[in-house]
């Protein structure tokens, strides 16, 4: 069979699977990072909008998830409409979100007293459909809960971002359990580029796409999100040991 015919068959199968998933009906599309190297790795060229995504901090050390927070804020800033931010500890500093592109008028905060209410508010926000994105700082996300959230995101057509913050410094890997989220990200800090003058330049992150449904895992080095929430591909790759910008892995989950 010629290659073109095979591709047509594969495309048709993909289309059918998508229709079974119910994703074709939603038509909300994707949110591209506007970084070709990253968008090329994601199915349909961006983060699916009506879906749940997980973001965690560095794996090696229980970090505070500050970089992951800014990454999530940058993604939420590029959606349209208001953002619901569900949290347990009120240590989030709103001026930093404003600097990541989320002005105070766009963010509604929910301070839940326990994990159960937090997940309930998260789900309610996703189901409502009038929000641009819903962010929730969750420490545990069992499979059943993530499945519910994913369905709620599909129903409401809202982008759901689960920010996996460790509640105790117990060293438990937040990605130890499977989940129904479409993608799982890990954000850790990298030393930034030296400036010609004393001072601090733009922060750099290592962005790991740990899991991606219908895609492969990958790793990128990027510059932290700017005032509009955009990340940029790091130009300082030439002096790293990795030749290509993105290393490939087999899908790991």
């Amino acid at each position: 069979m010629p290659a073109a015919a095979v591709n047509a068959v594969v495309a048709d199968l993909r289309d059918r699977i998508r229709r079974l998933d119910g994703r074709a009906l939603r038509g909300r599309g994707v949110l591209p990072f506007e970084v070709p190297e990253i968008d090329a790795r994601l199915p349909e060229g961006g983060l699916a909008l009506a879906a749940l995504h997980e973001v965690a901090g560095a794996a090696t050390r229980m970090d505070d998830g500050a970089a992951a927070t800014l990454f999530v804020a940058g993604i939420a800033a590029r959606t349209r409409g208001k953002v619901l931010w569900c949290l347990r500890r009120p240590d989030l500093f709103a001026p930093a979100l404003a600097q990541a592109g989320l002005p105070p008028g766009r963010v509604l905060y929910v301070e839940a007293e326990d994990e159960k209410n937090l997940l309930a508010c998260f789900e309610e926000g996703l189901r409502h459909g009038g929000l641009g994105a819903v962010v929730a700082e969750v420490s545990r996300l069992p499979m059943a809960a993530s499945r519910r959230l994913q369905l709620a995101a599909e129903t409401g057509g809202t982008l759901g971002l689960a920010l996996r913050l460790p509640h105790s410094r117990s060293g438990v890997d937040p990605y130890g359990q499977p989940s129904a989220a479409l993608t799982r990200w890990r954000v850790s800090m990298l030393p930034s580029a030296a400036l010609p003058v004393p001072g601090l330049g733009r922060a750099r992150w290592r962005l790991e796409l740990v899991r991606c449904r219908a895609g492969e895992a990958a790793e990128f080095e990027v510059e932290a999100s700017d005032a509009e929430g955009r990340i940029a591909f790091s130009p300082r790759l030439a002096d790293r040991s990795v030749a290509a910008g993105a290393r490939h892995f087999r899908a790991s989950a």
């Binding site: 505070d64 208001k82 500093f93 001026p95 209410n117 930034s192």
Partner: protein, 463 residues
Amino acid sequence: MTAASRAAEAAGVRVGMPLAKAHALVPDLSTMPAAPAADAAALERLALWVLQHYAPIVAPDPPDGLVIDTTGADHLHGGEKHMLSGLVNRLEASGIAARAAIADSWGAAHALARFHADPVFAASPGDGGAAADPLPVAGLRLEPEAAGALRLLGFSRIGALRLAPRAPLVLRFGPLLGCRLDQLEGRVAEPVDPFRDPELVTVRRAFGEPIGAAETIARYTQKLVCDLCRALESRGLGLRRADLLFYRVDNTLQAIRIGTARAERDEKRLVRLLCDRIETVDPGFGIEVMSLTASRAEPLVLRQATCLPGEMEDADLGGLVDLIANRIGGRRLYRMAPVESDVPERSVRRVPPLAPDDGATWDSRWPRPARLLARPEEITVMALLPDHPPASFTWRGRRRIVRRADGPERIFGEWWKRDAERAAVRDYFHVEDEAGERFWLFRSGDEKAVSGGLGRWFLHGIF
């Protein structure tokens, strides 16, 4: 004397004193004849206000008290303690010296509110009236003669009375004493007859056969909401606060209270809000009567809907806000608004979620950390030169070497707020360690110490 103001009490005037004696004590005392009827009317007005703002079940407890059943209402005010202190503060602001207590039973709350040293007191749940033990027997709602006779017999505290054998006491003082003690301990139910203002829109349904299943309650809730909305529509009102009361066959009351962020008359939304809380109702042996009251209603302004693409962005979040606020409490859902202050922890304040957005934001010349520690944590630091950023610092037992840094950003204390801030200065540095992690440190002290490199160092945030 039937009542005395705080100033009069400070001058030695006591309730129960003859008027002539009071005048002898304070020659320029201003007195007014007692007006019990006006007092009762004022108490009813106060009950109505509490009903509209705080709890669904309120009743006047004459001559000078209100009894409030907070079940099903405190979640809207951030818990029992918050609700209580908020209530007392608001009464205080309008010139009413109030004392309040919360307990498991009406009897215990009555005694605690009047005789506990703390003007705002919440007894721990399930203590069976033990918190009232050290209070005088006058807190038991007995006839004044009985209270006096008890004191003569040597019973000065409620606790002593609770320990004493019941039978001789009842023989001497009648069954009321035993009943009051049981009510205090919560062993005898004491239903509150809820105060209802005839002006409020109320719909009710009585059942021939008591109902109990959650589905049945939900069905009748829907019917009641339907009736209420029709009644409100004819008056052009929208709902801000609604109370659903359940009269159980054993003569106790259960209540659900919901609040909305703006006036609302949408049946589906209201039913959803009420049905969300049905699980908190205990039907017991069955419910005889359900009544739904619009405790607070406001004129409903209909908004023009739009389908123009440019105006679609601001979707109506009122329904979502109400849902979440009724689930976890109105205080826990908020937006942040900027405050004109250079001190970082003071630069944000919480505003209601649907407050109009004035577009104000923070000054973004200097980067701010994503996570701000609730209290800055002290760190040990090595710095090469007095006004240089540190070369290394130790935080939570881990030493980090600073590779790059930016700063200082000097922030002065707000001397117009407190005297202690007159000399307070902080120099903030934004530093990056060898792993690329970024922190927000500051050196604090008075101006001379900070400029001379002598201040103490703190870590305030993480980027």
